[in-house]
Each structure stands twice: as structure tokens, then as C-alpha cells.
């Protein structure tokens, strides 16, 4: 029984390791911070793998080696209550490795979260609702106009934009998140009703949208393309299909889009969407397809 169990533990360990090498992995990242997240993930998963494999091999070895059987039935087990030196060594070693990892993991976090968005960031307000995404662009004046929930009209004014506010007159409200490539993007995240979460796997980025809060986040997309935006916080009945679109455009295409009259915005976006295959990655000019992100 001991041998069988030892072998089973090893086989399950092997199966687990093989599965991690089977090709299923993150989609390619399209942000500046993405490779750093991926690197930190790799370092961590290597530490995890070493610890996991070592512990399971050790466990499998113990049950194989120290089984009671007919040959050793008259012998007794080793009589020991422990070893203080060993306790100290493994406590200190794991403490150094674990806390070291935690400290290392703060670097990307600090870059993204401890600082405000750089000057000149492209600003968009993301207003989530059950089960759709509204994107609020400041327009040529660069100012996001005032909103008021009492002005919300599900058909014509989904975010309650106050059209009397001067700053709101040129604002655009659409259903697609459009961002320029290689320029920091600042998102202001809000929710109309329940808590949602902004999740685009290729961005390596996720953030809750909490009613009553305006959460400012920033990152820099580095690849052009069209990507799916999902909700990652259970928000109600059709949470599973609260799907949105992120369109990362070359600078000139974005400038052209933003310069158009606002009633042409969504129709032009639909045209642009047709130019980029969902999930594919394009070069900075949006001319050459570099491959799929997954």
C-alpha cells in the first residue's frame, strides 16, 4: 500500500507539472506593466513549483520508504520528538523566501498604484451598470462634464450627463472603450448600481468599480487591437455576458476619431472595429497583424 500511495502521489505531482507546461497560459500582454507582472508570476510559480514538487516527492518517499511490512514488523519506529535546529532552519528559510516574494511583488503594484496618472494621460470615465459598460470621453475641451443620477435616461442618457454644464457639451458617451497606443491611459471607474470589475486579460489589469466611489487607475497599452472586456465581480443575473470592447488604436486613428463630430463617434468606432480582428495584436500603426493574443 505504501508503494502504491507513494507512486500515486508522484504521478499526481507529475500530472500537475505537465498540465502547467501544456501550453495553456496567459494571453499575450499588451501593456507596459504586463511583462513585469508576467515576470513576477514566473518567479513566483517557479518557487511554488519547487516547494510543491519537493514536498510531494518527500511525502511520496516517506510513505514508500517507511511502510510497515512483514520484514520490519519486529522493529520499532524511530523515537524522536523533533529537532530544534531543524525547526529554526526551516522557519527562517521559508520566512525569508515568502516575505522576499511579497516585497518583490510590490514593485509593479507601487508603479501602478502609488502614483497618479502621468500628465498628458488619455482620460476616460468608465461607468458600469447591470450589464453594460458606458464610456464617457471628455471631448475636445479635455474636461469630463458633470453627471447626476437623477438625469439618467436608459435610452438617451445612460450616465446622467448634465447637458446644461458647459464642460459636458462636447462630451461623448459610447459603449466602446477606445484608447491610444503607447500613451498612458487614465480610467476613472464608477458604477451606477452594484459593484462590477473591469477585466481585460491582455491588460493584466483588474479593478472593481464601486458605487459611490471614483477610482482612478492608469496603465499604458503598447499594442494595437480589439480585445474583449469582461466583468469580474458578480453583479447579477447576466453577469456572465456583461461584455464590452476595448479598442487600442494607433495615435493618428484615435486623433481622427476624437476630432469628428460626436454623433459620428459610435459609427466610426464600429468601422474601426471591423479593421481589427478580436483578440489579435497589431503593430503601432495598426497595419500589420503580429498574431493572436491567445
Amino acid at each position: 500500500m505504501g508503494r502504491a500511495l507513494g507512486i500515486l502521489i508522484w504521478l499526481l505531482t507529475l500530472g500537475t507539472v505537465v498540465l502547467f507546461f501544456s501550453g495553456w497560459w496567459f494571453p499575450t500582454t499588451i501593456t507596459e506593466h504586463g511583462p513585469q507582472v508576467d515576470q513576477q508570476f514566473m518567479i513566483t510559480i517557479i518557487v511554488v513549483a519547487i516547494a510543491f514538487v519537493a514536498a510531494q516527492i518527500g511525502l511520496g518517499y516517506m510513505v514508500w520508504r517507511y511502510r510497515a511490512n512483514a520484514q520490519n514488523k519486529d522493529e520499532r519506529a524511530l523515537y524522536t520528538h523533533g529537532n530544534n535546529r531543524l525547526e529554526v532552519i526551516w522557519t527562517v528559510v521559508t520566512a525569508v523566501v515568502f516575505i522576499g516574494l511579497a516585497v518583490m511583488g510590490q514593485r509593479v503594484w507601487a508603479n501602478l498604484r502609488f502614483s497618479e496618472a502621468p500628465a498628458g494621460s488619455f482620460q476616460v470615465e468608465v461607468v458600469a451598470q447591470q450589464f453594460a459598460w458606458n464610456l464617457h470621453y471628455p471631448g475636445p475641451d479635455g474636461k469630463l462634464g458633470h453627471t447626476d443620477p437623477t438625469l439618467i435616461d436608459d435610452q438617451d442618457n445612460p450616465i446622467g450627463l448634465d447637458r446644461k454644464d458647459l464642460g459636458a457639451r462636447d462630451d461623448i458617451v459610447g459603449s466602446t472603450l477606445v484608447l491610444p497606443v503607447n500613451r498612458p491611459a487614465e480610467l476613472i471607474l464608477r458604477s451606477k448600481d452594484v459593484t462590477h470589475s473591469f477585466w481585460v486579460p491582455q491588460l493584466r489589469f483588474k479593478q472593481d468599480l464601486v458605487p459611490g466611489m471614483q477610482i482612478h487607475v492608469h496603465f499604458t497599452p503598447t499594442k494595437v487591437g480589439q480585445f474583449q472586456l469582461a466583468c469580474a465581480e458578480l453583479c447579477g443575473m447576466t453577469h456572465y455576458k456583461m461584455q464590452g470592447t476595448l479598442l487600442v488604436l494607433p495615435q493618428d486613428q484615435l486623433n481622427d476619431l476624437m476630432a469628428r463630430p460626436k454623433d459620428e463617434f459610435q459609427s466610426r468606432v464600429e468601422e474601426l472595429k471591423k479593421m481589427y480582428e478580436v483578440g489579435a495584436i497589431y503593430d503601432e500603426q495598426g497595419k500589420t497583424k503580429l498574431g493572436m493574443s491567445y
Binding site: 500511495l5 495553456w24 516547494a51 510513505v63 458578480l234
Partner: protein, 607 residues
């Protein structure tokens, strides 16, 4: 103690408590901790089969959405979400809290410390009946208008606070809160009882450091429950008031639902998350610590070796319990909480991995140089160690702020917590039931059926939960009712995962049916099992020093006296390879018990 009438100095006179005569007082409204323990275990057994059934229905819908099932019909998204909510709630509260602590702790702890019952038997009876009412109220949520709530076991507001936020968020959600509040009361009563019993009712000679590690685990769990459940209870009351009395604890101004702006103002949805996880993270340890205790106990027994590093094990349990109160924020890195506090929570979270690793090292140390007897409880205890490592180790990923950006709320999290607080804890309970069943019922369980149950379940749970990590890496969000609909795959980046989704579902269905072998074994052994002696496993602790099952007052009026630590196996020179805690040292014959015993779990055998 050859002559029961010869009393040791200071020992109480023989004073037997006879069991009550009436059926109702004996088996229904019983004050006997053993009966109450079995009542808790029965409740947990019913609950776990309900919870498992719900999870299989969920897997079916994820794999084959929009299918019109015989009897069930199509599983609609809101039905899926209610299955998800009730599955989580049942498993966390009515299985993982109820069985390890209320069930095993209630039955075994008083006997292991040599007490004749819990300190407050009436409170003990009440805590069970209160818990049962909580369970009935929860199940009732399925049958009210709108059905069961859809917001998950975490019940984040505003989804949980606004009845119009979705189906099931009306009466169903009210019932959910009431059920949880009732459960909190039951758990608090239980926790008080455990703490008092352990501190005050230990037998002569049972110093703290001579206690079995199970007792340390149940004690620490009770302390956690005492500090954590009141916070959940308070949060639940506030949520109930927000829903029914127009208050705004969790509701900010300007919420827009169904063409109306709500009148609430001033509340914070994140406040709920802080309160919930202040309870919720210690709850993880409430679920797993008793499993750790049982595993240590059973590994030592069947390794025929003392626990390696008993003192380190006790400190590790304490360290886990203490740190467990300072890491709740790792559930909230991306909630909108301050990024600076996220950093602090992250470092504390990885620090809690240290005592967990120390426990694993000591389990391996216990097996080193052992003479392992592969009984069914031992198989499950070894399985516990394997699963605890597999599930716990990925906490190193999820505990890091930056890695939470891609991993939060994905299937990676599901794989992680199901392995560590779900199936590892369940393996601890399986080990416990196979181990203590002979004591509880005087019958052995079938080893053959037990082994079949172990092999399939062990392979099954790995097959279910390891692939979920991969799904999470690819980006699959949790709590999605389905991943495709009539128009095909909804998210292109998840399309490649279909074979894995199917594999997990098949593994889940096989594992589910395997549990009926366990159920059959349980019932069959109750009637047809081989008769168990007082100490069938040749174990050392006090529960094996009395009859199987123990009499109403546990030790038939003769309180045991303890002479040594809990795990004296393979002592050189001893006649047997185990020395019971009640066995006096030959040369000192009993006098040790009166000395101060600040033992290291092994008085007189220091190295």
C-alpha cells in the same frame, strides 16, 4: 487502577452520571456532548450531500449550457447563481464549520481531556438546535418567491442590499441573512463552551502541553470563532437594516435601479467587505485547523511515532490563528481599498505561509523513520498533507498585490481555496470519521470500501481542482453561469479551455458518485461492522482508555489521570510500541501526575 474504590489523593469520589431514560432526552434534546456531536455530524453529512449535488448541477450547466435536462429543465442563469450562493453558504457554514468543530470537537474534545461532558451542556444542546434552524431557514430560501439569493456566499452589497438588484434578492436574501445570523449565535454558544471546557475541565495531569494536538486545534478554532462570528453577526444585522429599514450602512448616494434613484446616502459597499472578510478570513482557519489537528493526531498514531516538533506545532497553530486576523485585506486588493494597506496585507499574508509550512515540515518529520500502518484514516491523513500543500502553496501567488491583478476572481482562486479549505479540510474529516467511528459506535468501518473511497476521491479532487488553476491563468472569471450561449462562445480567450472544462466536470461527477461508497460504508458498518475493542488502533490518548462507545459520563465515574504527553509511540524499552497517557511510569507509579508538568508533550524523554 485495579480497584476502582481505591481513590488517589484529591480525586473525587466515584460519581456516575446515569444517562436519561426517555428517548427524547437521550437522542433528540440530549445534553450529552457525544450525542450532540453525532447530531452535528449528521447535519453536516446531510448538508455536504446537498452542497455537492448543487456543485454537480453547476458543473453540468457550465459544460452543457442551455440543455433541457430531464426533471430539471434548463438551468437559467439566475438559478445557476442561486445554486452557487447556496453551495458556498452550505459548504462554508454548515459543513466546514459544523463538522470539524461542532461534530468532532464536541464528541472528542471532552473525552480527550478527560472530562465527563462539556462545561455547559444546555448551551451545547442549544447551539446544535440553533444551527439546525439556521440550516432549515437557508434551504427555505429555495422555495420562496424569487428563489434563493444570487449574490454568492460573500453577499456583497449593493447587490445583496437592494431587493430589485436581481431575482432572489428579495425574500430569499432576507432568509439568507437570518440563516447566517442564527448560525453565528449557534457558533458563539459553541465557542464559549469549547474554551471553558478546555480551560477548566482537564483531567488531573493533563497539562496544556500534554494535550493532543486536536485539542489545541479545537481550542484555537473556538477562540477564532468567538472573535470572528460577532463581526459577521453585526454586519448581517446592518445589511438586514439596509434592506428592510431604509438605513444606509452599505449604500452610497445616487444608486440607480430600475429607473429610480434610491434615497439612500452615506454608506460604503467596501465597509461590508471589510466586516465580511474580517470574519471570512479567520473562517478559513476555522475550517482547516481542526483538520490539521486530526491529521497530526492520526499521522502520529499510524506512523507509530511521536509528533515531530510538538511544541513547534502548537506555536504554529497559534501563529496561524493570530495572523489569520490580520490578512483579511488580501481579499480586497482590487476593491478600491487604499493601495498602501494592500501592500501591508500582502506582506502579512505571505507571512502566514510560514507557520503553515512549519506544520508541513513537521508532518514530514513525523513520517520520517516511521513504521506506517496504512489504515483508511492514515490514507486520508496523508492525502490531507498532499492536498494542503497543493492548495496552500498557491497562496504565494494570490497573496501578492501585483499578481492579484490578473488572478483575482478567476478560476485560479477557485482551485486554490477549494483544495486548501475545501477538500483538504474534508480529507481531515474523512480521516477523522474513519478513525473515530469505532469509538463512536463500537464498530469498525470497512477498510476495503474505505480504500476504494480514498483512491478514487484522492485522484478525483486533484483532477477537479488542479485544472482550475490553468483556467484561471488563461483568464476564466469565476461565478459565470455559462461561457457560451446560443450564439457560441462568449469570450474568445476562453474558447481553448473547453476540453479542460469537460474533464473537470467528468471528474466531479465520478468523485460525487464515489461519495455514496462512503455513505454506504457508514450505514453498513453501523449495523454489520466488525466489533471494535476499546483501543482498536493501539493509540495513546484518553478516548481510547474508555469503552467504545464511551458510557454516558465517558469514564464510568472514574476520571482518568494523565501521566505523559499525547504521542508516546515506539518508546524504547516499553513493552508495547505505544504508551497510553493513563499509564503510570513504572518507577514513579502515579506521583508524576501531581508534579507541575510543563512538559514538551513528552515528559521525561527530552533529547
Amino acid at each position: 487502577m485495579a480497584d476502582a474504590n481505591v481513590l488517589h489523593e484529591g480525586q473525587e469520589t466515584v460519581h456516575r452520571h446515569e444517562p436519561p431514560k426517555s428517548f427524547i432526552r437521550k437522542y433528540i434534546f440530549s445534553l450529552d456532548h457525544k450525542v450532540i456531536g453525532i447530531q452535528y455530524l449528521t447535519l453536516a453529512l446531510v448538508a455536504v450531500f446537498v452542497g455537492m449535488t448543487l456543485s454537480v448541477l453547476m458543473r453540468m450547466n457550465l459544460t452543457w449550457p442551455d440543455v433541457n435536462w430531464p426533471l430539471l429543465g434548463t438551468i437559467k442563469p439566475e438559478v445557476y447563481l442561486s445554486l452557487l450562493t447556496i453551495h458556498g453558504t452550505i459548504m462554508v457554514f454548515f459543513v466546514l464549520t459544523t463538522a470539524p468543530q461542532g461534530g468532532f470537537g464536541n464528541y472528542i474534545l471532552p473525552i480527550q481531556i478527560g472530562a465527563d461532558d462539556m462545561a455547559f451542556p444546555v448551551l451545547n444542546m442549544l447551539s446544535f438546535w440553533v444551527t439546525l434552524v439556521g440550516f432549515i431557514v437557508l434551504i427555505a430560501a429555495f422555495f420562496v418567491q424569487g428563489g434563493a439569493p444570487i449574490g454568492g456566499w460573500t453577499a456583497y452589497p449593493p447587490l445583496s442590499a437592494v431587493p430589485s438588484a436581481g431575482p432572489g434578492q428579495g425574500t430569499g436574501m432576507n432568509l439568507w441573512i437570518i440563516s447566517i445570523a442564527i448560525f453565528c449565535v449557534g457558533s458563539l454558544l459553541g465557542a464559549l463552551n469549547f474554551i471553558t471546557t478546555l480551560l477548566n475541565l482537564r483531567a488531573k495531569g493533563m497539562s496544556l502541553m500534554r494535550m493532543p494536538l486536536t485539542c489545541w486545534a479545537w481550542f484555537t478554532t473556538a477562540v477564532l470563532a468567538l472573535l470572528a462570528f460577532p463581526v459577521l453577526l453585526a454586519a448581517g444585522v446592518l445589511l438586514f437594516l439596509d434592506r428592510n429599514a431604509g438605513t444606509s450602512f452599505f449604500l452610497p448616494a445616487g444608486l440607480y435601479f430600475g429607473r429610480d434613484v434610491l434615497k439612500n446616502a452615506g454608506g460604503s459597499p467596501i465597509l461590508w467587505q471589510h466586516l465580511f472578510w474580517f470574519f471570512g478570513h479567520p473562517e478559513v482557519y476555522i475550517a482547516i485547523l481542526p483538520g490539521m489537528g486530526a491529521t497530526s493526531h492520526i499521522l502520529s498514531t499510524f506512523a507509530r511515532k511521536p509528533v515531530f516538533g510538538y511544541r513547534a506545532m502548537v506555536f504554529a497553530i497559534f501563529a496561524i490563528g493570530l495572523l489569520g486576523f490580520f490578512v483579511w485585506g488580501h481579499h480586497m486588493f482590487i476593491s478600491g481599498m487604499s493601495p498602501y494597506s494592500a501592500m501591508a496585507f500582502s506582506i502579512l499574508t505571505l507571512a502566514i505561509g510560514v507557520p503553515s509550512a512549519v506544520k508541513t515540515f513537521n508532518w514530514l518529520g513525523t513520517l520520517w523513520g516511521a513504521k506506517i500502518r496504512f489504515t483508511t484514516p492514515m490514507l486520508f491523513a496523508i492525502g490531507f498533507v498532499s492536498l494542503f500543500v497543493a492548495g496552500g502553496i498557491t497562496g504565494l501567488v494570490l497573496g501578492q498585490t501585483s499578481l492579484d491583478l490578473p488572478m483575482h476572481d478567476t478560476y485560479f482562486v477557485l482551485g486554490h481555496f477549494h483544495l486548501v479549505m475545501g477538500v483538504a479540510a474534508i480529507f481531515g474529516m474523512f480521516a477523522g470519521i474513519y478513525f473515530w467511528f469505532p469509538k463512536m459506535f463500537g464498530k469498525m468501518m470497512s477498510e476495503k470500501l474505505g480504500r476504494i473511497h480514498f483512491w478514487i476521491t484522492f485522484i478525483g479532487v486533484y483532477s477537479i481542482f488542479i485544472p482550475m488553476h490553468i483556467m484561471g491563468i488563461v483568464g476564466m472569471p469565476r461565478r459565470y453561469a455559462q461561457f457560451s450561449d446560443k450564439n457560441g462562445q462568449i469570450y474568445g480567450f476562453l474558447a481553448s479551455l473547453h476540453p479542460l472544462v469537460l474533464f473537470v466536470t467528468v471528474a466531479a461527477i465520478i468523485t460525487f458518485f464515489t461519495q455514496f461508497i462512503f455513505l454506504f460504508n457508514l450505514v453498513w458498518s453501523l449495523f454489520k461492522g466488525k466489533k471494535a475493542g476499546d483501543n482498536p488502533w493501539e493509540a495513546t490518548t484518553l478516548e481510547w482508555a474508555t469503552s467504545s462507545p464511551p458510557p454516558h459520563d465517558n469514564f464510568a465515574g472514574h476520571p482518568p489521570v494523565v501521566y505523559r504527553g499525547a504521542y508516546e509511540f515506539s518508546v524504547p524499552g516499553a513493552p508495547n510500541d505505544f504508551v497510553m497517557q493513563t499509564e503510570p511510569d513504572a518507577e514513579e507509579s502515579g506521583s508524576r501526575a501531581q508534579q507541575d508538568s510543563s512538559g514538551n508533550g513528552h515528559d521525561g524523554h527530552k533529547h
